[in-house]
Symmetry: C5
Subunit: 337 residues, 5 copies
C-alpha cells in the first residue's frame, strides 16, 4: 500500500466561478494568473482546485492570498497527515483520505484531499487528480447539479460525501473478498489463507484509520456553530456523519467475522490433523499385530507345533481375517471409520 511518498505531480490550478444559473471554468497555467482572475468573480461563488500538493511555493503564496495559517499549509502538503478538521474565524479546514481499492491485488491506494472552506469560496487540494473531484467538477460545469444555488458549504459536503460513499464500495468489496476466501480456505489448510486474511485485516485497519478521524471531524462540525456552514446545509453534514458511523460499524463487523473465520480455520487444521492421525493409528493397529503373528511363524525354533499342522497356514489366515474384522468393528464403534 502506498502511504506517504511525495509524488511529483505537475501543478494544475483550476478555477470555477458559479452561481445559480451558470458555471464558468478556467484552467490556469501559472499561479500568478490566479489573483487577476479572482478579481473577476463578481460576487459569484468560487471553487479553486489545486492538483499537486508537492508545490509548496504555490501553497505558500495561496496561503498568503487567503490568509491561511502556516500550520494548515504544512498539513495540506503532508500526505502522511491524519484526517483532521480545524476551525478558524473566517475559514474551515478539513482533510480526508480518498481510498481506491484494487480488488485483484487486494491493494488500497490513498489520495489526500484537503478542503479550505470560506464563506464564498472552497479551495480543494488534491495529492493527484482524483476521479471523484473530476466528476463533481464536470457535473457542476455541465449544470447537472440541481442544487447549484447552494453555496460552497454544499460543494464541500458533496466532495466529502462522495469520498465516504467510496468507503462503502470498498468495504463491500473487501467483504466480498473475505467471503470468497472463506470458501476457498476450507480446501487449503496450508496456513496460506491466514495471510490473505491478515491482509484483509490490515486493509480494514487502514479504512478504520481513515474513517475514524473523519467521523470525529464531522461530529465536531455538527456540534459547533460556524457561520461558514449554513443551517440549511448542516443536516447534510449530519447525514455524512451517520454514514461514517455506519462504515465504522461495518468495519468492526468485518473484523469480527475475520476473527471468527480464523477460529474456524484453526479448528479445521486441528480436525485435519485428527483425521490424518486416525488413518495412521488404524493402519498401525491393524498391521502391527498381524506382522507380529507372521514373524512368529517365521521363527526358526526347532519345535513349533503349529508349523507342522496340516491346515496351519489356513488357520493362520482365519485368525488374521477374524482379528481384522474385530478391529474394524471396534473402530466403527469408536466412530473412527
Amino acid at each position: 500500500m502506498y502511504i506517504g511518498k511525495r509524488r511529483n505531480v505537475p501543478l494544475q490550478i483550476r478555477v470555477i466561478f458559479y452561481d445559480k444559473d451558470n458555471a464558468e471554468s478556467h484552467d490556469l497555467k501559472d499561479f500568478s494568473d490566479l489573483e487577476p482572475l479572482l478579481s473577476q468573480a463578481d460576487g459569484r461563488k468560487k471553487w479553486i482546485d489545486i492538483i499537486g500538493i508537492c508545490h509548496t511555493d504555490v501553497l505558500d503564496k495561496l496561503g498568503k492570498l487567503f490568509g491561511i495559517h502556516p500550520l494548515i499549509l504544512e498539513d495540506i502538503a503532508n500526505t502522511e497527515q491524519r484526517p483532521k478538521f480545524e476551525e478558524f474565524d473566517h475559514y474551515l479546514f478539513m482533510t480526508v483520505k480518498e481510498l481506491s481499492y484494487q480488488a485483484s491485488a487486494a491493494i488500497l491506494f490513498e489520495r489526500q484531499i484537503s478542503l479550505v472552506l470560506g464563506s464564498d469560496y472552497v479551495i480543494s487540494f488534491q495529492e493527484e487528480s482524483s476521479p471523484l473531484i473530476e466528476e463533481g467538477r464536470n457535473r457542476l460545469v455541465s449544470g447537472a447539479t440541481r442544487r447549484q444555488e447552494k453555496g460552497p458549504d454544499y460543494l464541500a459536503y458533496r466532495i466529502i460525501d462522495s469520498v465516504v460513499d467510496q468507503y462503502f464500495d470498498i468495504i463491500e468489496k473487501i467483504a466480498d473478498n473475505i467471503e470468497d476466501l472463506e470458501e476457498k480456505m476450507i480446501q487449503d489448510l496450508s496456513g496460506k489463507p491466514m495471510r490473505s486474511f491478515m491482509r484483509m485485516r490490515r486493509l480494514l485497519s487502514v479504512l478504520l484509520h481513515s474513517v475514524f478521524p473523519l467521523r470525529e471531524s464531522l461530529s465536531r462540525i455538527e456540534k459547533r456553530d460556524s457561520h461558514i456552514i449554513s443551517q440549511e446545509i448542516l443536516p447534510f453534514f449530519r447525514d455524512v456523519y451517520d454514514h461514517s458511523v455506519h462504515i465504522m460499524e461495518s468495519v468492526e463487523n468485518q473484523r469480527d467475522i475475520l476473527g471468527g473465520i480464523m477460529d474456524v480455520y484453526l479448528s479445521y487444521q486441528n480436525n485435519k490433523m485428527n483425521a490424518v492421525m486416525k488413518v495412521l493409528t488404524i493402519i498401525a493397529t491393524i498391521f502391527m499385530p498381524l506382522s507380529f503373528v507372521a514373524s512368529v511363524y517365521g521363527m526358526n525354533f526347532k519345535n513349533i507345533p503349529e508349523l507342522n499342522w496340516p491346515y496351519g497356514y489356513l488357520y493362520f489366515w482365519i485368525v488374521i481375517v477374524c482379528s481384522v474384522s474385530l478391529m474394524l468393528y471396534f473402530f466403527r464403534k469408536k466412530k473412527w471409520l
Copy 2:
C-alpha cells in the same frame, strides 16, 4: 441474509382516521386520492401507512405534502439505512429494522420500517407488508386497543414495541439453536459445528447492529423534550428503551457463551487427538518390541542356541506374555488405559 436489495413491491396506501371511539380505514388506489381524503379527517388522528418504499415519486409527493426534509425521504427509500432518529420542529423521524428469523435455515430477514410522527398523525413506511403492522392495524380498526384515546405518539410506541418484542423472540430462538448445537458438537469434531457457531455469531451481530442504534435513538427520545411526544407517553418509550438495553445484554451474553463453546470445542479436539495418539502409542509400544523378538528368532545365524532348546518356543511365548502384561500394567499406572 437479505440486506439492501430494493424489492419491487406494489404500492399500497392505507389511511386510518381514529379517535377515542371509532376507527375508519381507507385503502387508496392512487396517491392523488390522498389529499382530498385527508381533508375529511375532521380533527381525528391520522395513520397513513405506505407499503412499498421503492416508489420514490410517491415519497417525494408525500414529502412535499407533509413538509418532510429531502434527506429524510432518501433515508426512507434506502433500505441499507442504519436505524436512526431525527428530530425536527414539527415532526420526528425514526427507522427501525423488523427482523424475522427462520430457525430451520438459520436465516434472518430484514424489513425496514420508517415512522414520521407529527402531532396529530403518524406515517409508517414499510419495505414490504409486515405482519406486525398489519396486526396493529387490525387491532386499531377492530377497536381491540383499549388506549385508542391516546395519540399518534402512543401508536408509534406500539409499532416500535412490537418490533423490539420480536427481537426478544429471535434471540430466544438463537439461544435455543446454540444450545442444540452445543449438544451435537460433542459428537462431531470435524470442525463443521464451528461453522454453524460462526453463523450464529453473525446472526447475533446483525441483531446487535439493529438494536444498538435503536437503543441510542430511544435514549435520545427519552432525554429530549419534544412537544410531539407527550409526557404521558414518555414512560412507554423509556420502557422500550429498557427492553432494548436488555436485548443488547442478552446478545452480549450469547456471544460470550459462543466464545466459551468454541474454547471447549478446541479443547475437545485436542483431547480427541490425545486419545488417538494414545492408542497408536500403546499399539506401537507393545508390538514393536514383540516383532523385534520374533524377528530375532527368524534369523538364519548358524548358531543360535535358543532355537535348539526343546522348549524354546514355549519360553518365547512366556516372555512375550510377561512383557505384554508388564506394559499394560505400566500403561494403566500412567492412566493411559
Copy 3:
C-alpha cells in the same frame, strides 16, 4: 437454571404496621380486606408484603389503590424483567433478583423481588416466598431490629442489602467451586472440566447481569434528590452501592481467573500430547532399526558371510545392546527421558 417461567404461587398478603416501639402483623385472606385494614394504620409505618405475582388482578387493584403506573405493574408481574429503578413523584420503584446457589449441582435459582417505596409505606412483591424477606419480617415483628424508629426507606435498604449480601455468599461459593475444579482438572484432560468451567462462567454471567443493573439503580438513587429517601438513610444506600461495585469486581476477577485456567488447561493438553508422542517416538526410534537388522539376518541370500561366523549371533546382540545404549544416551541428552 430457572428463568422467567411463571410459577403458580398461591397469593399471600401480609401487612405489618410498625413504629418505634411496636410491630403488628396481619395475614390477609383476601385482597378486599386490605383497604379496611389500612385505615387502621393510625400514622404507623406500613409494610405490605405480596407473595405470588402471578395474580395480576390483585396487582391491578393494588396499583389503583396506591396510584402505581400500569407499566410498573407490568414490570412487577414480569419475572424476565431486568433489575431496574424508576422514580416517580410520590413513590420509587425497584426490582432486584434474589439468587440462591445450589453448589452441588452448580445451579442458580432466581427469585424476583420488587419494591414500591412511598413516604410512609413499602410494598414488596415476591415471586415466591423468599427466606430473606421472611427473616427480615421476623426480625421486625420480634423487635430484633434496633433501628425500628427508622422509616420505610431503611426497610427497603435492609431488603436490598440482604439480597446483595447473598451475592457475596454466592460468588464465594463459586470461587470455591472453581478452585476445586482447578485442582481436579489436572487429572482429567478429557475436556470435560472445560464444560464445568463453562458452567461456572455462565453462573458468573447471570450474577453479573443481576448486579450490573442493580449497581446502576443504586448509583441513580445516590445521585438524585428524592424526598422519599431521607438524608439520614442515603449513606446506607451508598454503602450497598459500594458493595455492588465490589461484587462486580469480584465477578470480573473470577472470570479472569477462569480465562487463565483455560489457558493452563490447553497448555496441559498440549504437554500431554507431547509426552505421548515422545514415548511413541522413543519406542519407534529404538525398535525400527533393530527390527531391520534382525530382518536382514533373516534373509535367505545364499551368501551372507555373517551368518556363518561362529559368534555371529553373539556379535549381533552386542551391536543391538550398544546401539540401544547409544540411543538412550541421545534421548537423555535431548531431555526426552
Copy 4:
C-alpha cells in the same frame, strides 16, 4: 493469600501530640484513659493510632467520642472492605490496603489501614501493627520529619504515600519474578510454568484491586474542595494520585507481558511437538521401506532369483545405503534435519 480472616490482635492505643517543635508519645493501656489524655492536648495536633480493629467495642466508643458514622465504624472493622473514601462535614474517611510481598513463595499479605482525618487530628486504624506506620511514628517522635509544622492532612498523605510506594516495590519484585520465570520456562514445557504465570497474574490482580479504588479515592480528594485538606497539601495528594496511575499502568503492562509470554509458551510447546514428530517421521520413513526389503528376501518362495546371485547380499546393502542417502538428502532439502 490471606484475605479477610479476622485476626485476634491485642488492642494497642497510642497517642501522639505534636506541634512544630515537639512530639509527645503516650501508650495507653485502656480506652478509658483516652478521653482524659485528649483534654491535655493544648491545641497541639493529635495522632491517635489504634492497632487491632477486632475490638469493636473500642471502635464504638471512639466513634461516639469523635462523632463517626456507624457505617464507617463497620467499614473500619471489616477487613474485606474495598478501599474507599468518604467525605463528611467535619472529617474524611479513607481505607487503604497495605500489601507486603514474600517473593520466595509468591504470596501477598494484605493489611488494612483506615484513616479518619479531622481538622486537628488523624486517627489511624491498623489491622495489625504495620512497619510502615511504625516507621512514620518513629520519625515523627524523633523529630526526623522536617515538615512537622504541617497538619494532620500532611500526616495522612505521608501514610498513604508510604503505602503506595510499597506497591511500587511489589510490582518491581513481581516483574523480576516474571522475568526469571520467562527464562526458566523455555526449559520446562510440561505446562507447570503456566501455573506460576497464573499465580503472577492473580497477584497482579490483587494489586490492581487494591490500587484501582485508591486511585478513584485520590481523584475525588483532588477534585473536591474540603476544608480539612489545605490548599498547600493538595499538590501532595495529586502527587500520590499520579503514582497510583503509574502503578495501574505498570500492572496493565505486566499483564500484557504475561499474556505475551503465554502465547510464546504455547508456540514453544507446538514447536517441541513438531520436533518430536519429525524425528519419528524420519525414523519411520527410513526404516519401514528397509524392513520391507529385508522381509522380501526373507520370504520362502521357491524361486527368488536374487537370492541365488553370488553378490546378492552385497547388492542388497548397496541398495539400502543408496536409498538411505537419498532420503537423508531429501530430508535435508525439506529442512527437517
Copy 5:
C-alpha cells in the same frame, strides 16, 4: 532497556539570552555564576539548559531562585517519572521522555527531559545531553530559526515537537523490523521468532507509555487558558497534540498487526505438523501392509501353497505394485500428495 538508573552525569549549565535578532550563549562552570548572569538579561528571553539532573543541590537552589515547588523538583530528579504536566500561577511544568531506538539490537533508550516554562524564560533539564536539544540550541544560536521573535512558549513547543517527531521515526523503524521478521518467520517455525515479536510488543508498550501521558498533557494545555502560552502559539501545541494522537493510533495498529502475525504463526506451526504427520502416515500406510505380506511368505508353515507356485515371487511383486498404486491414487484423491 535502561529505565530509571540514576546516571552520574557531570553538571552543565548553559544560558542563552535571545531576542528577535540575536542569541547569546553562555556556558557556566558553577551554579553561583547563574544569578549574576541572569541580571544581565536586559529584557531578553532566557533559555537555561541544565544537563545532569542527579545534582539535586543545584536543582534545589534553582528551585528557590525561580520559585519552583519542591514536588516539581523531585519530579525533575526522578527519572522513573511518568510524563506529566502541571500548571502553576507563574510557570508551567512538563516532563517528556526522549526515546532513541537502536534497531540492530531492538533496544530503546530513554532520556527524561523536563521543562519549566515561565513568561519570559524556559528552563530545560536533561538527564544527559540529548542531541535533540543540542540541535535546537545550535539552530537558535546560529540564527537558523526564523521564528526567533517568538517567545519561550514557542521554544518549549519546538523541544516537545522534536521529541514527538522522533517517536514517529521510532515507530516507523519498529514497523520495518516487524515487517522483516514477518518475512523471516515463515522459514523458522522453532518458536524463536515469537520471542522477537514479544520484544517488539514490549517496545511498542514502552512507546505507548511515553506518548499516552504526553497526549493527556497536551490535551490539557490546549483546553486550559494559561497566560504563559500565548494564543498565537496554541495552534502549534494543538498540532503536537494531533501528532501524539496519530502516534498512539500507529502503536495500536502495530500491536494489532503483531497479534495477527502471531495467529498466522500458530497456524503455520499447525500446518507444519500436519505436513509432517501426512508423510508419516503415507509411509506407514504403504509399508506396513507390504511388510505384513512379506512376513507371511517368510513363515515356515509346512504347507503354504503359494510358495511352491513357479511364478509365486512374480505374483507377489505384481500384488505389491498394484496395491501401492492403489494407495497412491487414494492419497492423491484425498489431496495428501
